[in-house]
């Protein structure tokens, strides 16, 4: 598996091209599709099969229209449509097999009710806005923030500490790093309690 991160300077969001050893590829969160991404797909000879959307915010989906004009691809998200484009709907616990990429779908509501995290080949977590390097997503209310922290603790922190986090914004990370240094999680009122439960 190869993962090519790309910083979209239009939206300051990360776009990921993920390929397997046979050249089958997916794009995760097409924030803004620029020449560099297209060149990367073509230079690596990637057979682009699908696009996975972590959540429907425009910051992460604006380039979808450009991609479907160029490539014949399936689009997966938690909704039936994104920006008027039909999607294949995913829900918590679904599994996808695209080439040699084994993808587990984890629903982590809080930032938005349709937020998904994709776990690929066990060790790579594509978290969108849900879990960033050093922070968690913004929410509209304290209740949603509590829901988000609870979802992260129960669904993500039980995964191996060495899992690599590929967030929608900012630098890469690992779960171990976030457990130690994620300021938003550390500040959360019931962090200790939830973290303890996740370990058990």
């Amino acid at each position: 598996m190869r993962i090519f991160p790309h910083l979209s300077t239009e939206r300051l969001a990360n776009v990921y091209l993920v390929t397997d050893d046979d050249g089958n590829g997916i794009i995760i969160d097409p924030a803004h599709i620029d020449k560099e991404i297209i060149e990367n797909i073509e230079k690596t000879g990637t057979n682009l099969k699908a696009v996975l959307i972590t959540h429907r915010h425009l910051t992460h989906t604006e380039g979808l229209g450009t991609l479907i004009k160029i490539y014949d691809i399936d689009i997966y998200s938690a909704s039936d449509e994104i920006n008027g484009i039909r999607c294949r709907r995913l829900s918590d616990g679904d599994r996808l097999q695209i080439g040699k990429l084994d993808i587990e779908v984890i629903s982590v509501p809080g930032h938005s009710m349709d937020s998904l995290v994709y776990r690929i080949n066990e060790g790579a977590l594509f978290t969108g806005d849900t879990l960033l390097s050093g922070s968690i997503a913004t929410t509209h209310s304290h209740i949603e923030k509590e829901l988000l922290v609870h979802s992260i603790c129960t669904k993500l922190l039980s995964i191996s500490d060495t899992a690599i986090i590929y967030p929608g914004h900012g630098a890469l990370s690992k779960l171990r790093i976030e457990k130690m240094f994620n300021h938003d999680l550390l500040e959360s009122a019931d962090w200790d309690n939830l973290n303890q439960k996740a370990r058990v």
Binding site: M1, R2, I3, P5, L7, L12, N121, E122, G123, A124, S133, G134, S135, S160, D161, T162, I164, G170, A171, L172, S173, K174, R176, I177, M180, F181, H183
Partner: protein
């Protein structure tokens, strides 16, 4: 991308070294693997897709123009090493110890140094954008003349460290502690600091 397969040694959570089935630490070819890494670094070739955790790399002068890409060096100790005019892309140096090391004129992107300790180290004249330095400890170090655009120093502890003449636009110093740190000729006003905290302690 380095192998995400776990080491075959019972209870070992580390990633396997390439397709050998075992991590660096449990690999019967441990010495040869480290020697190969050092040779590749010194010859300025591309180090790619390797995971070498908890190693000791001492006195390596990496050749100019080399590349480290999509690799993992967590918990490794680097002493008296020089990485000059290199590209370090999408690589993990988390929880490492860097002692008397120098990164000069490098292009460092999408890489992670979180939880590491830098003692008497230099990062100079480098492009260091979009990296994680969360929770690092620095002592008696010089991080001057770099572009730290969009890098993250939250919860870092910077002591006797110089960040002079750096681009700090969108650099995150949330909850970072600084003591005797100089931002002269840099632009900390464009970085993120927690408002209720000052730059210094």
């Amino acid at each position: 991308m380095f192998s995400l397969n776990k080491c075959a040694s019972p209870g070992c959570p580390a990633f396997a070294y390439k397709d050998t089935g075992y991590c660096y630490h449990h690999n019967p070819e441990k010495e040869a693997i480290l020697a190969s890494l050092i040779r590749q670094l010194e010859e300025a070739s591309t180090v790619r897709d390797v995971s070498i955790v908890n190693a000791e790399v001492i006195g390596v002068k990496a050749g100019k123009g080399g590349t480290i890409m999509a690799s993992n060096f967590s918990f490794t100790v680097f002493e008296d090493c020089t990485f000059e005019s290199m590209a370090i892309i999408e690589s993990f140096f988390d929880y490492c110890i860097f002692r008397r090391c120098a990164f000069i004129g490098d292009d460092i992107r999408y890489s992670v140094f979180a939880g590491s300790t830098f003692i008497n180290c230099r990062i100079n004249d480098s492009t260091v954008i979009h990296n994680s330095f969360m929770g690092i400890d620095t002592y008696d170090s010089d991080f001057s003349a770099n572009d730290f655009y969009f890098s993250n120093f939250s919860l870092a502890k910077l002591v006797d460290t110089s960040l002079e003449d750096c681009n700090l636009k969108r650099t995150n110093f949330r909850a970072a502690l600084t003591k005797n740190v100089s931002f002269r000729y840099s632009n900390p006003e464009e970085a993120f600091f927690r408002k209720e905290e000052g730059y210094t302690i």
